[in-house]
């Protein structure tokens, strides 16, 4: 474990990814202790104050401290995106592995499901369902995961098809190991590189989609803070209150870059088999 952690720290992409993400994740988990103000407290004397020492990132239209709201918002945004990514990756990996390993009818049925789900434009489908259902954390996670597992399933399936033809899988079959043991110990560990790449790409996309949903008023709603709702406020006066949209937008972009860097680094390490 210690060796794995050292390898992660030695990798440049992983290091930069962690430098970006550790503060964001810490802010999300320890927000209560870090945030200088209550994120929903409206101080009408402090409406639209630009960044200063008193309010690091300024205040919004209700006089709420933006720094505190972004810290609390990271918990919502990252919580939703990470949970949805985890669900989608789990489902996609399981279905892709099953389809590629068992082939035949199982493969055909699973892949037709993939085709059907891929037929819907993701954002449109998510908007449609979010419009009909009561918005909230669980609903958003389920809706996002439901329309995000297909790319992973396709990637994992094609990788599984290649791995099942390798000599080490043939050797394992000759040892008399059962199918599920081969899938678990021979195929799955060699799929991890693909799964990690898929997860980081998806996480970046889902952070943006979650923010878009909140921006459109279909995800997290006011007064709860999320990066999307804060960004949405910024459009009211993007010039006069420039700091609202700029800081929230930058935070989204930097976090997505952080996850992509970490994913790239983990993929590199896995390919070199240092993980």
């Amino acid at each position: 474990m210690n060796r794995t952690f050292k390898s992660i720290l030695k990798n440049r992409n992983c290091r930069w990814g962690l430098i970006i993400l550790v503060p964001v994740i810490l802010a999300g988990t320890l927000g209560v202790y870090i945030a200088p103000y209550d994120p929903v407290y409206q101080n009408l004397d402090q409406i639209l104050k630009s960044p200063s020492l008193k309010h690091l990132f300024g205040t919004d239209f209700y006089g709420r401290d933006l720094f505190s709201r972004l810290i609390y918002g990271s918990r919502i945004t990252l919580g939703i995106s990470l949970s949805a990514t985890l669900l989608a990756i789990l489902g996609g990996t399981l279905l892709g592995l099953t389809a590629g390993f068992l082939r035949g009818w199982t493969d055909r049925i699973i892949m037709r499901f993939v085709d059907v789900f891929m037929g819907f434009p993701r954002l449109f489908a998510v908007l449609l369902i979010a419009g009909f259902c009561k918005s909230g954390f669980v609903t958003t996670v389920i809706v996002l995961a439901l329309f995000s597992w297909m790319e992973t399933a396709r990637l994992v399936r094609s990788e599984t098809l290649a791995i099942r033809e390798t000599l080490y899988v043939k050797a394992a079959t000759a040892l008399g190991l059962n199918k599920w043991r081969i899938a678990r110990t021979y195929i799955f560990p060699n799929l991890l590189g693909t799964v990690i790449t898929s997860a980081t790409l998806l996480l970046g996309t889902l952070i943006i989609i979650e923010s878009s949903l909140s921006f459109l008023g279909l995800g997290t709603t006011e007064p709860t803070a999320s990066w999307g709702t804060i960004l949405s406020q910024g459009r009211i006066d993007p010039v006069g209150a420039w700091w609202i949209a700029t800081i929230a937008g930058l935070l989204i972009v930097i976090t997505v870059i952080g996850f992509n860097l970490l994913g790239d680094g983990l993929k590199q390490l896995h390919d070199e088999s240092k993980l």
């Binding site: 000759a174 040892l175 008399g176 088999s273």
Partner: protein, 266 residues
């Protein structure tokens, strides 16, 4: 050992292996390519049968059919008296370990994410306590000439010869009785070839193993084999005692193979 009396250990009769040719856009649909055409032979226990022939002669397809990786289009394969044509079916899974492959690309035959110790112990019964598993693996490693400190090593940290030894130890761990050695020496340098050959001889005499040695190199084959099967274009063109065939080859093809190997017929 030349023991030709009694029941054959491995008996292949009229074996046919074919593959579909042509893709979706091909005009030649439903055309089959016959890789192994009506091959019949038998091997007694603790004998070594060399299967020789140039590339594309059907040697590996024959081995794949015996291992159950390719479903034969015809013929029978009997191992120790039982039909093993459907080795892929889960019902015959307990029978599978009795025949083990040793591939030419031994590096590709080891899971890159698995340590050597784990790779060798993977065929051992799951019910065996881990301490017993480890001691058995270390015993096998020493038997094939691998130092015990490679237990935690990964395949990428091993040389070609060491990887080949790991594959042998893995085959022995599941109690293999017959090894199908597919060009085991071709990727090794001369000194490693000699060491592996000695090891194979030692294992054969110590464990009563039966070998099917696939090779295109008659010089190595004649040092290990008791019998020889010469293949060309999927067909068996000569089969018999190695000394007899190499000293008096019957077909021009075998004569050419013997000439290329620099073995002078007596």
């Amino acid at each position: 050992m030349n023991n030709d009396t009694g029941k054959p250990f491995l008996k292949v009769s009229n074996l046919v292996v074919d593959y579909a040719r042509g893709g979706f856009f091909s005009r030649r649909k439903n055309v089959r390519f016959v890789a192994v055409d009506n091959v019949t032979f038998s091997v007694m226990q603790s004998q070594t049968l060399a299967i020789v022939g140039q590339s594309g002669s059907g040697k590996t397809s024959l081995a794949m059919a015996i291992l159950g990786f390719v479903q034969p289009a015809g013929g029978t394969i009997e191992f120790a008296g039982s039909d093993i044509r459907n080795l892929t079916a889960s019902k015959s899974r307990p029978e599978r370990p009795r025949i083990q492959p040793i591939f030419q690309d031994c590096g590709a035959a080891l899971n890159p994410q698995m340590t050597i110790g784990r790779a060798i112990s993977d065929g051992l019964p799951v019910s065996l306590p881990s301490s017993r598993q480890k001691s058995q693996v270390l015993e096998l490693m020493s038997r094939v000439g691998l130092p015990g400190d490679l237990f935690q090593a990964y395949p990428r940290q091993l040389s070609g010869g060491q990887k080949q030894r790991v594959c042998l130890a893995r085959a022995l761990a599941v109690g293999a009785e017959c090894l199908i050695l597919d060009e085991p020496f071709s990727a090794q340098d001369l000194s490693v070839q000699a060491q592996l050959m000695l090891l194979l001889r030692e294992l054969k005499s110590g464990l009563d193993l039966t070998y099917l040695l696939i090779s295109h190199d008659l010089t190595t084959v004649r040092l290990l084999a008791d019998k020889i099967l010469v293949m060309r274009g999927g067909k068996m063109i000569e089969f018999g005692d190695i000394a007899e065939i190499l000293s008096a080859p019957q077909t021009d093809y075998t004569k050419e193979l013997v000439r290329q190997a620099g073995i002078l017929p007596q």
